[in-house]
């Protein structure tokens, strides 16, 4: 612009020059998110813990190979030779051994792999399923919506743990179920969790889509001749990312607990594969004589779930500060 208006003092001129020299860039949603998240100490610690745990889980075979024993190897020499009862923490077995002489430290680490694997895979599939159904129901309305919504209502009416137990029990014996497609163990647990969980995210997404589709930018996209498919993936889905992330970070710890519960009840991960839930189940009756077998997997489970929960809280707060109080 040509010169300042007559009468403005020098300071204002400096300000204008300053403003002209720098571009004011609008910050994206993600930059805002990260800035808010960075301020949340608790969430950062939780993120650090989760990150560390994922690293440990990925490198468990290396760690265990270096300083501990293979998780499924039995060491009867570590049992009391008189009664066969397990011995506690020592320099060779950091967390002691279990009644079969297996290294509890190694099994806790490998259990982390199982818990994280199951939680992440199962959550991923349940989110994908829920989002797909939710988007279909919310966008297309009509018969599709009615059918899907009523089906979700029916599924939600089932008592969760009983339904999980039922599916898991049916598929845990012998050759599995669904004509052998669902084998006992990891597959059964993942399938059970997916079947239980997709309805929650499905409902949430449907609600979000219902409100989004009425917004102006959708109308304008439709007016400009965009196909439904394009609208769904280009316009609606990006706006769903926030609730999906929030839901995922809250669902993962729940699913870790669900896997532990199923393994505790004997219909989840089968021995000799290590699973925190199954270890806790075996440790409960001998707690008074073998506290280590209960405490270490138990602590691992509690800390993991707590970390994910705190992380999820932090993510939700950072994404949507209005709900932070």
């Amino acid at each position: 612009m040509s010169g300042v208006a007559p009468g403005l003092d020098e300071r204002s001129a400096d300000l204008v020059a300053f403003a002209e020299s720098r571009e004011v860039a609008g910050r994206t949603q993600w930059q805002l998110f990260w800035e808010r998240f960075r301020e949340d100490r608790v969430a950062l610690v939780a993120l650090g813990f989760v990150g560390a745990e994922i690293v440990v889980a990925i490198f468990a075979p290396v760690i265990v190979g270096a300083i501990a024993h293979p998780p499924n190897a039995q060491y009867p020499e570590a049992l009391d030779p008189m009664f066969g009862t397990p011995t506690g923490p020592s320099t060779t077995f950091f967390f002691g051994v279990d009644p079969l002489g297996q290294d509890v430290f190694s099994r806790v680490l490998y259990g982390a792999r199982v818990s994280l694997e199951v939680a992440i895979i199962a959550t991923f599939f349940s989110v994908v399923t829920g989002v797909a159904f939710g988007m279909t129901a919310g966008y297309y309305r009509g018969f599709a919506d009615t059918a899907i919504s009523r089906f979700i209502d029916v599924m939600l009416a089932f008592p969760v743990l009983l339904l999980a137990l039922g599916i898991a029990s049916a598929c845990s014996i012998g050759g599995g179920c669904a004509a052998g497609l669902v084998q006992p163990g990891l597959t059964t647990v993942i399938v059970t969790i997916v079947v239980i969980n997709w309805t929650y995210i499905g409902r949430i997404i449907r609600g979000q889509v219902l409100s989004l589709r009425e917004k102006e930018f959708i109308e304008s996209a439709r007016a400009s001749g965009a196909k439904d498919r394009t609208i769904l993936f280009r316009e609606i889905l990006p706006n769903l990312v926030a609730p999906i992330i929030v839901y995922t970070t809250l669902a993962i710890p729940q699913n870790i607990l669900l896997e532990a519960a199923l393994s505790y009840l004997g219909v989840g991960i089968n021995p000799p594969q290590a699973s925190w839930g199954q270890m806790i189940a075996e440790a409960t009756p001998i707690f008074s004589t073998a506290w280590w077998y209960f405490v270490f997997p138990g602590a691992a489970l509690v800390l993991t779930v707590l970390a994910f929960n705190l992380l999820g809280d932090g993510v939700r707060d950072a994404l949507d500060p209005r709900t932070a109080d």
Partner: protein, 597 residues
């Protein structure tokens, strides 16, 4: 019969001696021997009278009986119910393994040629309601005949009673008369045998000889699978609680939940060696957790363990308490626990592969899953030490071990050698995964895991199917068609004090039956079969025990089954009862002799 049960009795050799001039040798079989761990295996003193009359006993178990029908029962836990409810021709003197008359008025007499056995029954023994009438010899005859039918399918009928003249060689669909059982009058039975049989008298103590009223039972026995068990009548001090029409299903017998015994109103105490002190016995089933079971008993809320031993941690804690120690008893079972390999299909149809398994198993670790040395001696063959001089030494004693390893922990190198001899390069198995069906509760589940880990050392991928102990037998291991490659949690106790009862039902190829089969390895070795058939006819006890000792050697060397424990079974009682154990039944609680203090 199947472990958890030891029924060995002193054969009243005196009778046979009178019949065939053989030298008599009797042993009591109660071995108050201190086991290697220093823990006594002496049984509690046998009660001679009731401390109090009345009260309720509670026995806890993980699983159910194998069959509620006494004509089908072949499992030590089931005998805890048949012994107090069903009187057999011969019984067992409490606290011993000695045979005494039960339904019989006196011990049976055997003819000089050994082909005729005569039994005189007591008079005045009556059935429980709704039958109520007096027991006659026809009822005992029918009981034995029905065992051979396909609808009852008793697992030892052919093994012990196949010697009867006219005994069917293939099972008839429904009970048919056997000409070799004669009933000249209502209280006399005459058995005609096809050849002299040294052990027939001992078989008269088995529950298949408990009387069954034919007119009442026939409608049930005519069904494809007999349902008489659900309507059974009793002759002992107790009966399974029944409706007025005799139905026990849902009344005194709730499968997998509860068995309730009440007093048999028609029992005459003066005719019986049993005391029958308490009024009611509850068998509470479904206690899957042995620690909970043991703690419940120690707290006094229950009185004894029916089928599951206290786990190692509990044994340790009980033995370190001066009061609780008094309530724990170890009974030599007379039998062995073993791992049965299915020889009818690959890979265990190969002798070298089986030998490899015999070498690789860490028997010491397997024993630790049950509690270590207090639980018994590592087994090296099938006839166990409590047989004493008769049979155990003939079988090679403690020293005979065809597959030795340092401290019985297994010899992986030797195992790999065997695998190489079988044709597997590097000594590692390279075929498809194999299957074992195991208990789903400890200690059996832990033992199965040790076995799977040991087999992994020679390359086997073992898939474990976990089911209840009873299901493991009735649906899998006892049915040759459904049998997996390995039955890891099986064992066998003598049915009575004869080595034949340890080796014949379990390893004679002629005793393989399509259901209720006890020859789990499906071993059918002609030379072993004929050696056994020959040994069965030996009347002289010493020669007989020697012959069976050699057979034990032969069977062990086939590695069709790998014995690993000669067990001292622990039984724990609450402090409110006077304990009594069936010394001939693995130390199982003898409820007909127990009373509340």
């Amino acid at each position: 019969m199947k472990l958890i049960l030891a029924a060995f009795v002193v054969v009243s050799v005196a009778v046979l001696a009178a019949g065939c001039g053989a030298s008599s040798s009797s042993s009591t079989g109660t071995s108050a021997v201190t086991s290697a761990s220093g823990v006594s295996t002496a049984p509690p003193p046998t009660p001679t009278s009731c401390s109090t009359k009345g009260g309720t006993l509670t026995i806890l178990s993980a699983g159910d009986v194998d069959h509620i029908d006494p004509g089908q029962a072949y499992y030590s836990f089931t005998y805890e119910i048949t012994r107090p409810t069903q009187r057999t021709i011969l019984g067992v003197k409490p606290g011993t393994t000695e045979l005494i008359p039960d339904l019989a008025a006196s011990m049976p007499t055997v003819s000089k040629d050994g082909l005729t056995v005569t039994v005189h029954l007591r008079q005045g023994i009556r059935f429980s309601p709704p039958v109520n009438r007096e027991v006659t010899s026809a009822d005992v005859k029918y009981a034995i005949e029905r065992g051979f039918s396909a609808s009852v399918a008793n697992g030892y009928a052919a093994a012990y009673f196949g010697v009867l003249q006219g005994a069917p060689t293939t099972p008839p669909a429904t009970p048919q008369p056997i000409s070799g059982i004669e009933t000249p009058d209502a209280h006399t039975l005459v058995f005609h045998l096809t050849h002299p049989d040294g052990i027939f008298t001992g078989a008269l103590s088995l529950p298949m000889t408990a009387p069954v009223p034919e007119s009442y039972a026939k409608p049930f026995d005519d069904e494809t699978v007999s349902s008489y068990g659900l309507h059974q009548v009793a002759t002992g001090p107790y009966m399974i609680k029944a409706s007025s029409s005799g139905n026990i299903n849902g009344v005194g017998y709730q499968p997998n939940k509860l068995i309730e015994l009440v007093r048999n109103p028609n029992w005459d105490p003066s005719s019986d060696y049993r005391l029958g002190c308490v009024d009611q016995v509850l068998f509470k089933e479904g206690y899957q957790d042995p620690t909970v079971m043991t703690k419940t008993i120690l707290s006094g809320s229950a009185d004894a363990n029916g089928d599951t031993p206290p786990p190692p941690a509990e044994l340790k804690s009980i033995l370190s308490s001066s009061t609780e120690k008094q309530q724990l008893f170890f009974t030599p079972t007379g039998g062995s626990r073993y791992v049965a390999l299915n020889t009818s299909k690959a890979p265990f149809n190969n002798l070298d592969v089986r030998k490899a398994v015999a070498y690789v198993l860490d028997k010491n670790a397997m024993r630790l899953t049950r509690g270590g040395p207090v639980d018994g001696t590592i087994a090296t063959h099938f006839i166990d030490p409590s047989f004493g001089n008769e049979g155990f030494n003939q079988a090679g004693g403690l020293t005979f071990d065809p597959f030795p390893s340092a401290s019985s922990s297994g010899d992986v190198a030797k195992a790999k050698e065997m695998m190489q001899a079988a044709g597997y390069a590097n000594g590692m198995y390279s075929g498809p995964a194999i299957q074992q069906v195991a208990d789903n509760t400890p200690p059996g589940s832990n033992t199965a895991q040790v076995i799977a880990a040991d087999l992994a050392k020679i390359g086997f991928d073992v898939k474990t199917v976990s089911v209840t102990h009873a299901t493991m037998y009735t649906k899998f291991c006892n049915v040759p068609r459904n049998e997996p490659n390995i039955c890891p949690n099986v064992g066998w106790l003598p049915d009575f004090h004869e080595p034949q009862t340890v080796l014949d039902p379990t390893f004679n190829g002629e005793n393989i039956v399509p259901v209720n089969n006890s020859n789990w390895p499906l071993l059918n070795d002609q030379s072993i079969n004929s050696a056994m058939d020959k040994a069965q006819t030996i009347l002289d006890p010493t020669q007989r025990f020697e012959a069976w000792g050699k057979i034990d050697d032969q069977v062990t060397q086939t590695a069709a089954a790998i014995p690993w424990l000669w067990e001292n079974f622990p039984t724990v009682f609450s402090s409110r009862v006077v304990p009594a154990v069936m010394v001939d039944n693995e130390g199982a609680p003898d409820i007909a002799m127990m009373s509340v203090k």
